[in-house]
């Protein structure tokens, strides 16, 4: 299926050529975009109204394999709505790989149209507001940025995997403070998407790491101009507890692979720097959420008793000792120190690199530790407000940065005989 998405058909190309000069491509991956055009178009028009556009805007909606063929379905003076072929998500591959398929085909079309900017919306269409359109496209069209990453307004228990691992890890590694390194809603300049397509075509097609979700790190390595735009709230897909291990494995695998690929880059980076953020920083009202810490801790303790063998291969004795102490703590005292958490994540990244055990098993074995971190965080943040949460997560990021020399040292001397 991925192979089908690497190029666009001649027929589609011919239809695209008829569209004329294009400034902006807005690509949707959610199949409901096509079904909800009537509701979507006014929002798009409103979002575009503030932009200084010289050419047309092309909105791409997927047909999800419905045999209607690619083509224009709405044709206005300033906007064309174009239906493109995107197979339905394949449950046999990771979400990241499915998303990569959407990026690829939207980029190809945007490249074919020679648009100045391309905004891709992977999130569910219900999230879309005029502000999303404007905020993503404007920095590329009017401020010469190459990549606009989304800055979502989070509630304190939103996007925990991002807050606990993805953001602090990529920030420490790549040295840029980008809140959502995996987007997934981004805007691109044409040179950047062409660069990403070149990177994509250089990879072995069958490799496990064949996904294009690590856009922000790739842009940082390419040393292009990156910024963030505040988009507002985002509804996150609900993850079934049983699937959590797969989700963690699916998301972390490309991140850890990128660490290998980019080692010569990130080992020269120390500290991190903020990047421009555009848009209004609205606060969102925190609703009271009951977090079942007891179940999270049970998962951690079950992991501690049943995954000793794997953790023993991955983690050095001082960390194992700390985990043992945590296992014995009363629930209300359960806290994973930030430095310990950062070291755990770094050790898993190392084990992934060294193939200490089968990579998928390795990543799945991280799940109880992650749930332990969530429990620790929930206990600590249960009664605090948004500002304190932000400060708390910033402290975690600083711990990742402070512990980065530990990762560099382990990376260069991966001897298991370490403390």
């Amino acid at each position: 299926m991925i192979a089908e998405l690497t190029s666009i058909s001649e027929q589609t190309k011919q239809r695209l050529q008829q569209i004329g000069a294009v400034d902006l491509v807005i690509g949707f991956a959610d199949q409901r975009a096509g079904e909800d055009i009537a509701n979507l178009l006014p929002k798009i028009h409103q979002g575009l109204s503030g932009l200084a556009l010289k050419g047309r805007t092309v909105v791409l909606v997927p047909n999800y394999g419905v045999a209607v063929g690619d083509g224009e379905v709405v044709n206005e003076e300033s906007l064309a709505l174009f239906q493109y072929s995107l197979p339905a998500p394949d449950p046999s591959i990771s979400a990241a790989q499915n998303i990569s398929g959407a990026y690829r085909v939207i980029w190809r079309i945007s490249e074919e149209l020679n648009a100045r900017a391309c905004a891709v919306f992977i999130s569910a269409v219900e999230n879309l507001t005029p502000q999303w359109i404007f905020q993503l496209a404007q920095p590329v069209l009017e401020r010469n940025f190459d990549l606009v990453a989304p800055y979502y307004l989070h509630r304190k228990f939103d996007a925990m995997l991002n807050s606990s691992i993805l953001y602090p890890l990529t920030r420490a590694i790549y040295g840029k403070r980008v809140q959502n390194p995996l987007g997934p809603d981004f805007a691109f300049s044409t040179p950047l998407l062409q660069h990403l397509l070149r990177l994509d075509s250089a990879k072995p097609r069958s490799s496990a790491g064949h996904d294009m979700t690590l856009i922000e790190p790739a842009a940082v390595v390419a040393k292009v101009k990156v910024c963030q735009s505040i988009l507002g709230e985002r509804t996150y897909p609900v993850v079934d507890g049983k699937d959590l291990s797969s989700v963690i494995a699916g998301i972390l695998a490309p991140v850890f692979l990128a660490l290998e690929r980019d080692a010569a880059f990130w080992q020269h980076i120390r500290g991190s720097e903020p990047i421009p953020i555009f848009g209004e920083d609205l606060t969102i009202k925190e609703e009271s959420v009951d977090v079942d810490v007891r179940r999270l801790l049970e998962s951690f303790r079950l992991g501690f008793s049943s995954l000793q063998e794997i953790w023993g291969v991955v983690l050095p004795p001082t960390i194992l000792l700390e985990l043992r102490k945590l296992d014995r703590l009363a629930p209300e005292q359960f806290r994973i120190p930030d430095e310990l958490w950062a070291r755990i994540v770094y050790e898993f990244a190392m084990a992934y690199r060294l193939r200490s055990i089968a990579r998928d098993h390795l990543l799945r074995a991280m799940t109880p530790l992650y749930l332990g971190w969530v429990a620790s965080y929930a206990l600590e943040m249960e009664a605090v407000g948004a500002v304190t949460v932000q400060q708390r997560l910033e402290k975690l990021c600083v711990a990742y940065e402070n512990m980065k020399p530990y990762l560099v040292s382990r990376w260069r001397s991966p001897d298991r005989f370490n403390p």
């Binding site: 840029k176 062409q194 292009v224 020269h268 980076i269 991190s272 260069r412 001897d415």
Partner: protein, 563 residues
């Protein structure tokens, strides 16, 4: 439209780690006792994991094998012992899939006397096109100033051919007649050979014995202007039709004589730095950096697109051609106590036995190999500290089967031991039961693990492949210290050539304020001041220190534009 290579960076060879191997010696896929492309293909994962980036294959063409394949009888084929052309292509594709480039050897100075060109030449009339493919004379008196290279076996560079009723010219063995590069048709045919292999997708070609292409009376017949002209012709043809390929010169000459082989960046991309290698061994044994500094001082600048190839050992003897008589005598005394260890003007031993199997010495020399300006070439088996067999003839003692594990035939082949092309090393110190890949892969402290880490470390820093070199001059001559710089990267390398711990005060005043960080452990050292920077190194110890400005931060990722 130029045919692209397997990499997109035209200067890829500057960052490469080259691994030299003989197909026959590496792995036997069909269990006939001789290594082959099928076996090599099965070992590509090992090579990828080791971290090398370019595989240099010794000649694998059809040949009578009187000189281990350097006597080629068909430039366009694969010796049946090593497989078929399809096997080669399968190997090449698999190597490229793993981001491994492939460097092959073209021995263009001479052919085998069994090559159809020579067979036709000796039968053809004098002056005929066929005859003119080689260099003939009625007497053995011409070109008397040319030295004899294989002094142990050859008495003259001319050999009488009774069929041709004339003498033919050969700089190497008498069964290897030299091609006549004064004949434009020879160059045309050689270019066809290049194009054949480059069209298949090989990334690089090593030009064997390149200084000897052309002969002129009254000269030593080495490095002649006409030879350079011939090489420029070949290079121009490659540049016209192919992108991102590389040619590597084997010119065992003094650095000033090798320099012209780079031309103005229009001859060879790379050339071996032959004289450096024996001086590394000399410096080590004498515990004095002078021999290294001396030869580096004689090493001229080369064009930006060019690169030296550095090595500690290879498939030939440790050559002592590019040293003085005294230096040669010293080297013989220091490294070849047993006369059987000597051949021609050199020493036929592998790295580990040369260094008395001392792990610290092996690591020290590898640290120099990986940090000196140039592209390192690792000889197969040296990454595990393989030994040699001085009782085998010629240079076969350093060409024994790769030692994969402790099983029969060292895991090289399932053939009965008597069928092996060469016996495996079996002595108690270097034998395959003691030294093998499998054991070292499972040993975190093995030489293999160490080499793998060093390769990975080197690959993190472009400064090693591309940076400038500046020697420091501390009063303790047992310490070799130098700074490499490239595009904001700065690395200070300090090596103790002595078997005892040594102190050193380095004048780093120009780097005042910088923070040295030991590269392997990422350990921060005291900040550099205007005062002498004092270090103490253990026996044969070395330090690689990356130099950071105190405020070094994410500034390295400043925005640039994509083009």
């Amino acid at each position: 439209m130029k045919r692209p290579g397997s990499v997109s960076d035209p200067l890829w060879y500057k960052d490469a780690i080259i691994y030299e191997l003989h197909v026959k010696a590496f792995a036997d896929g069909n269990n006939d006792g001789v290594g082959d492309f099928g076996g090599l293909l099965q070992k590509l994962d090992y090579l990828q994991e080791l971290g090398v980036t370019c595989l240099w294959l010794l000649p694998f063409f059809p040949s009578p094998l009187k000189d281990d394949g350097y006597d080629i009888s068909d430039y366009l084929g694969v010796h049946p012992s090593f497989g078929t052309m399809e096997d080669f292509q399968a190997f090449l594709s698999a190597a490229h899939e793993r981001n491994l480039q492939v460097l092959i050897e073209l021995v263009i100075n001479h052919t085998s006397d069994q090559h159809p060109w020579f067979q036709a030449a000796r039968m053809a009339a004098p002056g005929s096109p066929e005859r003119e493919f080689y260099v003939w004379n009625d007497t053995a008196e011409k070109y008397q100033d040319a030295r004899i290279i294989f002094t142990d076996t050859e008495k003259s560079n001319w050999t009488w051919d009774p069929l041709a009723k004339a003498y033919y010219w050969h700089r190497f063995f008498s069964h290897q007649p030299d091609l006549n590069f004064d004949n434009p048709r020879v160059i045309e045919e050689v270019i066809k050979v290049f194009r054949y292999w480059l069209d298949l997708g090989v990334d690089a070609v090593r030009l064997d014995a390149i200084p000897y292409l052309i002969e002129r009376d009254g000269t030593n017949c080495e490095n002649l202007p006409e030879t350079h002209h011939a090489i420029k012709t070949i290079r121009a043809e490659i540049d016209q039709h192919y992108a991102n390929r590389m040619i590597l010169a084997e010119a065992n000459q003094w650095p000033t004589d090798v320099r012209p082989y780079f031309g103005d960046g229009d001859e060879c991309h790379m050339a071996f730095h032959f004289p450096l290698m024996p001086r590394i061994y000399m410096s080590l044994r004498q515990e004095d950096r002078l021999p290294i500094l001396d030869i580096m001082a004689q090493t001229p600048q080369i064009p930006d697109t060019c690169q030296w190839a550095l090595f500690l050992r290879n498939h030939d003897e440790l050559t002592l051609e590019m040293v003085t008589m005294d230096e040669r005598d010293y080297m013989y005394l220091a490294y070849s106590a047993d006369p059987r260890m000597r051949i021609n003007l050199g020493i036929r031993r592998r790295l580990a036995p040369l260094l008395d199997n001392n792990r610290r010495r092996i690591e020290l020399l590898n640290s120099l190999l990986f940090s000196f300006p140039g592209t390192p070439v690792i000889y197969y088996g040296d990454e595990i500290g393989m030994g040699d067999n001085i009782y085998l003839g010629d240079r076969n003692g350093v060409r024994t089967p790769m030692q994969w594990n402790g099983d029969r035939n060292a895991g090289f082949s399932r053939a009965i031991p008597a069928r092996l092309y060469s016996p495996v090393i079996m002595d108690p110190v270097f034998g395959y039961e003691a030294i093998n890949v499998e054991a070292q892969q499972s040993d975190q402290s093995s030489l293999l693990t160490w080499v793998r880490n060093m390769i990975a470390l080197r690959k993190l820093f472009r400064v090693f492949g591309r940076g400038s070199l500046e020697f420091l001059n501390p009063s303790n001559r047992k310490i070799l210290a130098y700074v490499r710089k490239y595009d904001g990267e700065q690395v200070l390398c300090v090596a103790n050539l002595s078997r005892f711990a040594q102190p050193v005060d380095l004048d780093l005043a120009t780097m005042e304020g910088m923070v040295p960080i030991e590269m392997l452990g990422y350990v921060e050292f005291p900040v550099i001041t205007s005062q002498p920077y004092r270090l103490t190194l253990g026996p044969y110890g070395f330090l690689w220190l990356e130099l950071h400005t105190p405020s070094a931060s994410a500034a390295a990722a400043r925005p640039e534009s994509l083009s």
